[in-house]
């Protein structure tokens, strides 16, 4: 449990004018990026990383948390007004929100998105505050064997919980693990796959890779886009808070379910806000008393899924802080920032620096509370923000990407990496290979290798020890189940099919004489 003294220290760290200014500016930045279609919350976070270099640890993390939370909410705005989700996390209920706008209920759709995003964010934060320290206590007892399985479990979940084909997601993940092998950052400190390039001795720098894979690839997709330009709906938006109390009491169970789905999906490594929104929207429709109204401009799905995507954001931070395993691509970037700031995530952070953990919790609360007034403001100026031409913004974003990648090591090699990985990500997405698993592989690769090698040395080369320790055994069973799931489900469906076939072709029972 985090002591009162740590909370007081954290409050002192956070309620500093500089930190509050960082939070405010990051909030505006997150809202703007999230509201512009095509610029994702992940891109907002990746572009922010180079700027956080120059900040103390607490404001750096505060900037990342605030910008990502705001961007996830702001994605609802173009969804409701243009039928184009600002971020993938809003895609699940974009049609519903747009249908409400067409019915003249834009303020209700946007108000529900805002208010229930705040509720979801606060719920996720509460779960994080309650469970992360307890989980950290358990994690203190873990050795390299348990960590090895935890990382494999995280990577396995990343393959199967996603929209891409599991085989292609697996290939992306393995490519990320191979990229993580470059350089000297391995247990033997042997320079590997550096091709004689001195800049690669220290390994592949995560920041230019992330800027390249998330921002440059998006920019390239934009310049080759053949779709017609967006048409902006200019509509006067009334009081977005009207009727929220009624929705809260009417859909309280749906809201609770959305919050829970969000947190659980967020905690599962590899799946983030977008998956949480899709799952909870589907659950909302399944359990609704009025499922026939879904798709015609019904607010229930927005209440549930809007809460789920923001509670997933906080949920994803639980494995990130406790085990150093990212819950989604945003936390993968955040973990990179934590390492850069010497706030190495893991259970020891809860015992050695509890004030930093408490500060992260407080940032989540503050960012979610700040979302209410700033989100209201963003909705009010939405029509103007949406008129900003992406073609005018993209060249400036490119220059920011170049500067940010250069700043990671003050060397133009960072820009070279950014271009190379940007092109690779562009080609990967054209070929159905998802990008997020590459980043997970890159972040978790060194951790996986270190725990694998350490365990093998400890066990004198005997791989069976991975399966014999009590917690490791359960983690191994869970991982194997996830990895073998497609084979199992295929076998079950084959058996069922064969049985049905046999029943259909069985001779009819003969009538008794």
């Amino acid at each position: 449990m985090i002591s009162l003294a740590s909370w007081t220290q954290a409050a002192a760290l956070l309620f500093d004018p500089y930190v509050l200014a960082v939070i405010f500016v990051s909030a505006l930045y997150g809202l703007a990026v999230g509201a512009i279609p095509g610029l994702t919350a992940t891109m907002a976070t990746a572009l922010l990383v180079p700027v956080t270099f120059f900040m103390a640890p607490v404001p750096a993390v505060a900037a990342i948390v605030t910008a990502s939370a705001m961007a996830i909410f702001a994605g609802d705005i173009p969804g409701a007004l243009l039928r184009i989700p600002g971020t993938p996390a809003s895609a699940a209920y974009t049609d519903e929100a747009y249908a409400m706008t067409c019915k003249g209920q834009a303020e209700l759709a946007l108000g529900a998105g805002l208010v229930f995003s705040v509720v979801g964010g606060l719920f996720g934060t509460a779960v994080m505050i309650l469970f992360a320290p307890t989980l950290a206590d358990v994690a203190l007892r873990f050795s390299s064997f348990e960590y090895f399985w935890l990382v494999v479990l995280g990577l396995a979940s990343a393959i199967f919980i996603g929209n891409a084909s599991p085989l292609k997601a697996g290939i992306s993940l393995l490519l990320g693990l191979l990229v993580a092998c470059v350089g000297m950052e391995n247990p033997a400190a042997q320079p590997r796959f550096t091709l004689g390039v001195a800049d690669l001795m220290g390994g592949i720098d995560l920041i230019p890779v992330m800027v390249g894979m998330f921002a440059i690839s998006e920019l390239l997709r934009f310049v080759v886009n053949t779709d017609p330009p967006l048409k902006v709906v200019t509509q006067r938006i009334g009081n977005v808070f009207a009727g929220m109390g009624g929705l809260l009491s009417r859909y309280r169970w749906a809201l609770l379910r959305g919050n829970l789905i969000g947190v659980v999906v967020g905690i599962a490594p590899g799946s983030g806000s977008d998956m949480a929104a899709w799952l909870s929207y589907a659950a909302s429709k399944k359990f609704s008393r009025e499922p026939e109204k879904f798709g015609t401009g019904h607010v229930e799905g927005i209440v549930e899924a809007g809460a789920a995507n923001n509670s997933a954001l906080a949920g994803a931070w639980i494995p990130a802080l406790v085990f150093g395993i990212p819950g989604d691509s945003i936390t993968a970037i955040a973990i990179g920032v934590l390492y850069l700031k010497n706030m190495n995530p893991g259970p020891t952070m809860f015992t050695d620096n509890p004030q930093n953990i408490a500060a992260i919790f407080l940032v989540f609360i503050l960012a979610n509370l700040l979302m209410l007034p700033l989100g209201w403001l963003a909705i009010k100026v939405a029509a103007k923000v949406l008129k900003v031409s992406r073609a005018a913004l993209m060249p400036v974003i490119l220059l920011f990407c170049i500067t940010g990648s250069f700043a990671s090591n003050n060397a133009v090699f960072g820009v070279t990496l950014m271009v190379a990985f940007g092109l690779v990500a562009f080609l990967m997405e054209e070929n159905g290979l998802p990008v997020a698993p590459v980043i997970l592989g890159l972040v978790l690769g060194p951790m996986l290798e270190t725990n694998f090698v350490t365990s093998m040395i400890k066990s004198d080369g005997d791989p069976f020890v991975f399966f014999t320790r009590p917690i490791a055994m359960w983690l191994a069973a869970g991982t194997c189940l996830i990895l073998l799931w497609p084979v199992l489900s295929w076998a079950v469906s084959k058996i069922v099919l064969r049985q049905t076939h046999a029943n259909n072709h069985a001779p009819p029972p003969s009538n008794p004489p």
Partner: protein
């Protein structure tokens, strides 16, 4: 630009075959039964397995051809031009920024990309002149990033 899954699998197989070849020179750590090449080779063998599965899947579904399907944008001159300007501009920045400097390179990049994206020159020119100056001030003055001055080193401020 979409490759068929069979070709993609073949490329991935080649990559996974290159890993053990590149790992041959790694020295084993004395007293340890697991060397620095073990982990990359394990990953490479899993990648080879996935590549073979991808090729088998393509063969079973009969989707071996076309080997390469060019995207719709490759047939459209404006999109093609914007792509070349964007990638070429970044590569030129890598090659020339030390000699030319951040600001001149930034101005040239923004001008070229803005015009390639068919933006009106009345917007492109002021943006190309102002944005590099603003970004330079934020990063060079504010964040102390040593962006190269290049041609402007005589008038560095």
């Amino acid at each position: 630009m979409k490759l068929s899954d069979a070709v993609l699998g073949l490329l991935l197989l080649a990559l996974s075959a290159a890993v053990p070849i590149a790992s041959r020179g790694f020295h084993a750590v004395p007293g340890q039964n697991i060397g620095p090449g073990a982990f990359p080779q394990l990953v490479a063998s899993l990648l080879a397995f996935c590549a073979v599965l991808l090729m088998l899947r393509a063969a079973r579904s009969g989707q071996l051809r076309p080997w390469l399907l060019p995207g719709a944008w490759l047939r459209l001159a404006p999109q093609r031009r914007a792509f070349v300007v964007c990638v070429g501009g970044m590569l030129l920045y890598v090659g020339l920024s030390d000699r030319m400097g951040f600001i001149p390179c930034g101005v040239a990049l923004l001008l070229a990309l803005g015009l390639a994206l068919r933006q009106p020159w009345q917007r492109v020119v002021p943006q190309a002149l102002l944005a590099p100056l603003v970004i330079h001030t934020i990063f060079y003055k504010g964040l102390k990033v040593p962006l190269p001055w290049g041609l402007l080193s005589g008038v560095a401020w």
